[in-house]
Symmetry: C2
Subunit: 318 residues, 2 copies
């Protein structure tokens, strides 16, 4: 039996998403992964969509229009990366307020240029789009790719290792600085403004036996919760193992959203030697942060002691 509503971790946002997708009834198929999968001839197509709204996901005072477009496309490509797919094509809808007089050039063309840059960086092209007048800027990006061996959220088994690419907490730290009126610089700024979708990493991990993957957009803790729910396993995370952005405490790093790294569940035989091979192939660290156990839900420990899970993003929470 196909599940109609995606099996997500706990939280008010996820409760509402479950209810919304339940409205689809038999029209829904294979929901609940970072990307939808559909067979086309002899290949499996992966597709995902990511909506970015002014005032919710970005502010025009924080990012250039080019970076707004690039970041929106990268967010969608990050979902595709989590299935191990090779990106092929991008479609983009843009909502535009009346053109501001003080800005040089057309913000819409700048947004498009940013989307195009993100697409080209992963070997994809922009093949379609729509433009409409709206009260606030919005960018909705749909990405299509081909997955030779698509990885979903539901394949984790007890004993498997839980791994994370890169390091966590930089995006959250940059966001906190911006909210406090400061302007992050250098690597911290790039981390926030120009996240790189982990496409090469996702393909490498899929080719090396990944059982389940998800991109870290809700935060490590919440996204590990989605994997646990979808795979019917418990996940034990050790905060002491979380790879942190310089200066970010592990509890903060583990709750930080929009990090666009990958959480990958690898078979027990996958170890530090394989993680070194991953680093040679991608230039990124790969760190084991936990393990799958029998049971359900999430258990967080710090130096061996159980602790309460740090809270992640929850857009719809009251």
């Amino acid at each position: 039996v196909r599940r109609v509503a995606p099996r997500l971790g706990p939280g008010a946002e996820f409760d509402r998403i479950r209810a919304i997708f339940a409205g689809l009834g038999p029209a829904g198929r294979g929901l609940g992964d970072d990307a939808g999968l559909v067979r086309v001839g002899s290949v499996t197509l992966a597709a995902s969509v990511d909506l970015s709204l002014e005032g919710v996901h970005f502010r025009t005072g924080w990012l250039s229009f080019r970076d707004i477009g690039r970041r929106a496309a990268s967010a969608a490509l990050s979902d595709l990366a989590a299935t191990g797919a090779r990106p092929l094509a991008v479609l983009v809808s843009v909502g535009l307020p009346p053109r501001p007089r003080r800005v040089r050039g057309d913000p819409a063309a700048e947004i498009m240029a940013g989307v195009g840059r993100a697409a080209l960086a992963v070997g994809a092209h922009v093949i379609g789009g729509d433009v409409a007048r709206s009260r606030h800027y919005l960018v909705d990006v749909c990405v299509l790719g081909v997955a030779r061996r698509p990885v979903r959220r539901r394949g984790a088994r007890r004993g498997d290792g839980v791994w994370v690419t890169g390091s966590l907490g930089g995006a959250g730290r940059a966001l906190a600085a911006l909210r406090a009126g400061a302007r992050p610089r250098g690597a911290l700024w790039r981390r926030f403004a120009r996240p790189e979708p982990r496409v090469t990493a996702g393909r490498w991990l899929a080719a090396h036996g990944a059982r389940a993957m998800i991109d870290i957009s809700d935060g490590l803790v919440a996204d590990a919760g989605h994997i646990a729910a979808a795979s019917s396993v418990a996940i034990e995370l050790d905060l002491g193992l979380v790879p942190c952005w310089p200066g970010v405490p592990p509890r903060v790093a583990a709750a930080s959203g929009e990090e666009y790294e990958l959480l990958a569940v690898m078979p027990v035989r996958f170890g530090v030697r394989e993680a070194r091979a991953f680093r040679r192939a991608t230039g990124l660290p790969l760190t084991r942060v936990g393990r799958c156990r029998s049971g359900s839900g999430l258990r967080v420990t710090d130096q061996g002691e159980p602790v309460s899970p740090p809270r992640g993003f929850d857009h719809f929470a009251p």
Copy 2:
């Protein structure tokens, strides 16, 4: 050489779209058709996206949330129909204001149910989506299909006939009634609220040699202008031939947008006998409204006399 900016007919909206897509540079590929096309293995995938915004494309006082979702998905599927593709999958992004108290059920679930209904009606499934909090309702629908013999805007040649499915002007008439505070009923209401994407018609026309197609969303005149520009031909439209919704004058019918019928350019040998076969296959009339000539642009005649072209939709016009 691939064109980066789509070759569209005249108009302020289309000028801006040209500028916006020019921002893509080499990242753009095959733009300017109702759907983008990409080869995947041995098949050609067609993909299109259509953005519907509250206050621009719909009002919550006019349509139920279910019809809002259904209509948004049908608009996107109509673009796919214009390439002759068979729909496979739908992805949908929904923007949601805080949940209203006076409404029974969750508007988001109702919108999804409508999207799902439109998808199932053409044999497609909803395989992904995104949900975000926004100030106004928005529904962005991305559709994927397979095109055995994809039809574009640019294949029309002089001598070819210009044909239209169904009849035009009903959607415009319903909209005018709503704007005047009236509530259209019966067939007129269904025409506006529940347009049927011409998927079967588009596949039939593609299989029977269509040289170019477009769905009538900007209005017959403007969309014929897009075909003329993309195909480097002139198109002569005879207002007296336009199949009109009961009571709608030809000039009004020829300018009416969001009609979601197909304009198909067929080889000269395609005639009334073939149109009868089309009607048997689809249940729809197919009417020749004009012919392609050498030259460029659009010529409109009425009973043999040249007349000024009626104006169509132009969202960005001042």
